[in-house]
């Protein structure tokens, strides 16, 4: 069953802060992450299913899946000085692959692809104690052509159905967002207005409207990563968002959100 749903920013400056970043802002986002960690402790999930977009780390020149599931014994990666490794909840990962394919989603699965920091940053701050196993779910956000928002929403809806029928208590975590343009000429001018408008819609339980966005609209708004949220929205339906924080930095709209199920 699905017991919790959250979205967390994962910008690397939250974990490795150069002098360019406002320390107080970073600490405010950390406080929101700590709130998620406390909520997860209350909700006692058996497993965290994490939807994130690989940052051209595991999937690039040798293969670019639209949707993928990590289904090995564990998932591991590195980012700078960080070395991380998480056990995978193999029965759930396998059920997601098998039933996802049965439902018409042509998923890639992997038993040894590296785990990108997009998975690591939320887990570093919000994994409850004692830690629980994870199921990493990749959505291609950075390498065109990406899956359409509609496809992400539909996959999320199927994922929600699969999780609902499982015996485990599953917390769904979407990693990424909001507006930012890494590596482009717009890096220093994110679209905060777009973010705030979108958060208003999510507070009102209108998440299904995001399925009607186009890929071009997400790209224009610096929100290619919102595909991970849209996947989550397919699973949580019309639940209302509780926005823990929205902290716009000079290059990134940092949001932490819970959907009350």
């Amino acid at each position: 069953m699905l017991v919790a749903a959250f979205a967390l920013a994962h910008t690397p400056q939250l974990i490795a802060r150069p002098a360019t970043e406002d320390r107080d802002l970073v600490l405010r986002v950390h406080a929101a992450f700590a709130r998620v960690k406390r909520r997860l402790a209350e909700l006692t999930p058996d497993v965290l299913a994490v939807v994130a977009g690989d940052h051209v780390e595991a999937f690039f020149l040798s293969g670019v899946p639209a949707l993928a599931v990590y289904a090995g014994r564990e998932a591991a990666g590195t980012f700078g000085r960080y070395r991380y490794r998480y056990p995978i909840h193999e029965p759930l990962a396998r059920a997601v692959v098998e039933q996802g394919i049965e439902r018409g989603f042509d998923l890639l699965y992997t038993q040894d692809a590296p785990l990108d920091y997009a998975f690591f940053v939320p887990l570093h701050f919000a994994m409850p104690e004692p830690a629980v196993p994870i199921v990493p779910l990749h959505v291609n956000v950075y390498l065109p052509p990406q899956p359409t928002p509609r496809r992400c929403y539909d996959w999320g809806r199927a994922l929600g159905d699969i999780l609902a029928a499982r015996p485990e208590r599953v917390a769904l975590v979407a990693s990424g967002g909001m507006s930012h343009y890494p590596g482009t000429e717009r890096y220093a001018s994110p679209d905060f207005e777009w973010d705030r408008h979108t958060l208003d819609r999510l507070r009102e339980g209108r998440g299904r409207e995001l399925a009607s966005l186009t890929g071009e609209e997400l790209d224009k708004a610096g929100n290619v990563e919102l595909r991970t949220w849209i996947t989550l929205l397919g699973a949580v339906g019309d639940a209302r968002a509780d926005v823990y924080c929205y902290e716009p930095s000079w290059h990134h709209g940092n949001a932490v959100v819970e959907w009350r199920l």
Binding site: A16, A19, H30, V56, E57, P144, G183, T184, E216, V224
Partner: protein, 90 residues
Amino acid sequence: MSQHYRFPPASAYALNRCLFLLKSDDAFRDRYVADPDGATAAMGLAAEEAAALRSADRDALVARGAHPYLVFMAALRLTMARGGADIEYF
């Protein structure tokens, strides 16, 4: 068509592979820091690509088909490797 992130053209394979290794492969990054010309020559980069990489010319790299995110993170990891950034880790 997307404005910011584009399909990586096959013509930019060597360049994107080099940027990927600068981002994610500690040994290659160290080699590049020690000997940029040797490292880029071994990767088969064109002279213009190697020059754009050396001068961190984002626009030139992207114009040749480099993925913007790779340009961004390769540059950040090079800065970190050269000890040029004062970083607080959490």
